[in-house]
Amino acid sequence: MKEYTVEVVIESKPYAKDPEGMTIMRDLMHKTGYERVNSVRTGKFLRIKVSAENGEEAKNYVVKMINDLRIYNPVAHTYSIVLKESTG
């Protein structure tokens, strides 16, 4: 088996306000002249290294795990997942 890197980003669904992202945009970016920023959403990032036969299997393994273990709360969060080049 080889080792793969799978990156997971968890962020709030659009209906759930993100006060941290709003504060970063309004009180830091806009106040210092970066007025062309239209939106900032914060989230959580997990870089997971996993052993698998191939990339597809590595990705499926992580998808199953983050759903089984409630790594995100489906009521309020969405996730996106990116498989990186094999590192093993």
Binding site: Y15, P19, T23, K44, R70, N73, V75, A76, H77
Partner: protein, 235 residues
């Protein structure tokens, strides 16, 4: 009535709850380490406040996978009263025993202050003997207490009478000023469909003796007294 208070690594309000139930109300109450918890002969269970597992990943989510929660789920299914206070509420949410999400406060900071709660339903063991619409002064102390759910699910919570407490002003009115964390519809506590599982962000165990209240109130008592009356023939 035999009550269990489950202690997780990082719980820090378990002794407050134990003190109130054991010394103030003289109830048969036991502090149980989460790995040793077995629903066995307990009639009710309390998940106390604190920072279980350091709030890592998300408040309450790691404790939700403790084997203790399997037993809590059994007790909930049997209709036994389950109360989650603050981090305990977060654990009930992450265990899917209660619906929704508790996100970071709108103000982004930890908020520790006394709030006014309005009792929205008396169909739970913890509110059965409190007058509906009573205003309770009880403190909050949390950073992740903003209750969030889809509009559709919040409507269902209303339709099914699952909203137990709301943040209000001292006259009992909902307002954004009386909402300490930005919770949708000022929701401070909810229950499951059957009403036996209740979670709330405020801390009734810190508001059960006048010496602990700047207002000389003891409104938190009402919640525990209600549970006791419920077991003493008031079901």
């Amino acid at each position: 009535m035999k009550i269990a208070i489950i202690q997780f690594p990082g719980s820090n309000c378990e002794y407050d709850a134990l003190h109130v139930l054991k010394n103030v109300f003289r109830q048969d109450t036991h502090l149980v380490w989460h790995k040793d918890f077995n629903s066995g002969d307990f009639d009710a269970v309390i998940l106390p406040g604190g920072f279980s597992y350091g709030d890592h990943l998300r408040a309450g989510v790691i404790a939700a996978y403790s084997p203790a929660m399997r037993h809590v789920r059994e007790m909930a299914a049997e209709g036994k009263p389950v109360l989650g206070i603050c981090n305990g509420f977060q654990i009930l949410i992450e265990s899917k025993l209660l619906d929704g999400a508790l996100l970071q406060n709108n103000c982004l900071t930890f908020v520790c202050k006394w709030v006014n709660l309005r009792v929205e339903t008396t169909r739970t063991p913890f509110t059965k003997f409190i007058n509906e619409s009573s205003i309770l002064r009880i403190p909050i102390a949390h950073k992740e207490g903003r209750y969030v759910n889809t509009r559709r699910r919040i409507k269902e919570l209303y339709d099914n009478d699952q909203i137990v407490f709301k943040y209000v002003d001292e006259n009992g009115f909902e307002s954004s000023d009386s909402n300490p964390n930005g919770s949708m519809d000022n929701i401070a506590g909810i229950c499951n469909l059957d009403g036996n599982v209740v979670g709330l962000m405020p801390h009734p165990e810190r508001a059960s003796e006048t010496i602990l209240s700047p207002y000389k109130t003891e409104h938190g008592r009402l919640i525990f007294e209600s549970l006791i009356k419920y077991f003493n023939g008031g079901r």
